[in-house]
Amino acid sequence: MTNKSLQHMPPRFRLPKIITVAGIIVFISLFALGMTHANISFDRVFTGIANMFHFLWSAFPPDPSRISAISGAMYETFQIALVGTTFGVLLSLPIALLASRNTSPHSIIRVVTRGLVSTLRTVPDLIWALIFVISVGLGPLAGILTIIVDTIGFCARFFSERIEEIQKGPSQALESTGATKLGVISGSIIPLGFPSFVATSLFAVEKSIRSAVILGLVGAGGIGVELSTAFTVRRYDEALMIVILILVVVIAVEQISSAIRKKVI
């Protein structure tokens, strides 16, 4: 009896599929090549670390002299980032639904949407900035549009990934009542994915604030310009002040995200 059952014992290792082996070999060789590139040598590291501290030291203490101008820029950036991200998130949700295996109406639509989202993400910000400056002119609107595109590229991808991970049981339960696809989505996919959507969306807000540099490109000002100017004139203490200010906002956004998620997880 025990013998009989032992014949069913899974082997310790199963022969992996050829494609898996091939994938692993490719990964390892690329990784190894990359490592040789890195050219790691530790002889200079110690002086390097001393240098690094010297550099960091030059930024201390942070210089608060321009704090009111900086705060103003931050406030402005925050507003624009908020508007752009809100629209981006709102657009991302339907796009993600079209791009997910379990909610897409058709696999062709899915592939096309995915490709589109990847494209939005791959085309650099600079190009988007150019395109929007040309079509709507300089100013916050071009910035908002760039942020919207950025947000869709990011959020639609992550929303879709989460949607595909949602257990299918509850959705089937709704489907079995004769619910339409839209009903299943509103009744099961969205509530179950909600904690994750909140996290991703608020991360997107944060991301938009951090990448505020593009606002400068389109002549919309904001904290990005402040930061890059501080660098150009090598005012590291002022740069540090700006980074700290951004960090405060970033952490605040993260706290909001946590608080909302705690409720709905």
Binding site: M1, K4, S5, G169, P170, Q172, A173, L174, E175, S176, T177, G178, A179, T180, K181, L182, G183, S186, G187, S188, P191, L192, F194, P195, V264, I265
Partner: protein
């Protein structure tokens, strides 16, 4: 008329498991039938095939004489509205309220989502949801998040959601497995009341043979994916039932 007709349905999973082998049976409208069988005999798989979540490897299934075996989702949807399911593991939307979960049972009748969402549903629907909850004894827990219920309470919510749907054909997968004896009996009574009064059709998976014998007018038995029993209650002996679980299975370890 046959509410449900299963013709030589075979289901082989991708890994080669034969969950169903040429199973055929008919259920007439207004009948209340119990489906029995050992663990892994293919009962839930049968239900999944009927409700279209699995496609049979071969064979056909008819609902009200319409073939549904390979119907697209879009085409199947209008029919699904009339089929109420209770799932073996409830499948509630865990982070929504009990009330909202029950309201969702009416999704088939109300294609506009707002009409079945708790804040915007009509007074009628909301009251109906409360009535359904009341029938399974959970009215007082309507506002609770559904993952803050006990196991049996969750199963009752699943039953209430099914009731909300006003189905013509009920497929209940072990609907009383987690219920206490009194509640279990009451739910069975409820289901058979529906069959008797409203001439609906119920196909119910059970493991409790006594309850099966008490309620089911007709019993269907599966063993290792094959139909081995299909008869009126009166023709079935205790032995028949025992052999359903023991026949051809020497030891527990051979159960598929």
């Amino acid at each position: 008329m046959n509410a449900l007709s299963v013709r030589e349905v075979t289901k082989t999973f991708k890994d080669g498991t034969n969950a169903l082998e040429k199973v055929s049976f008919d259920i007439k409208t207004g009948e209340g039938v119990v489906l029995l069988g050992h663990n892994g005999s293919g009962k839930s798989t049968m239900f999944k095939c009927i409700s279209g979540f699995e496609t049979p490897t071969s064979g056909e299934i008819f609902i009200n004489n319409q073939e549904i075996t390979r119907l697209s989702d879009r085409r199947y949807r209008p029919l699904r509205k009339n089929i109420g399911m209770v799932f073996q593991n409830f499948h509630l939307i865990y982070n929504l309220s009990v009330f909202q979960n029950v309201l969702f049972g009416a999704m088939g009748q109300n294609r506009n989502f707002l009409k079945v969402s708790a804040p915007f549903a009509s007074k009628l629907l909301r009251e109906k949801a409360m009535a359904c909850l009341d029938r399974v004894g959970l009215a007082h827990l309507a506002s609770r998040r559904s993952d803050q219920l006990s196991g049996g309470q969750q199963q009752r919510v699943a039953i209430a959601r099914m009731l909300m749907q006003d189905p013509e054909l009920i497929l209940a997968d072990e609907p009383i497995a987690s219920l206490d004896p009194k509640a279990g009996r009451e739910v069975m009574e409820l289901l058979w009341e529906i069959v008797d009064e409203r001439k609906l059709t119920v196909l119910c998976i059970l493991h409790q043979t006594e309850i099966a014998m008490e309620f089911g007018e007709r019993l269907i038995g599966l063993n290792k994916g094959r139909l081995v029993l299909d008869d009126e209650k009166n023709n079935i002996s205790k032995n028949d039932l025992n052999s359903l679980y023991y026949d051809g299975i020497e030891e527990l370890s051979d159960v598929q």
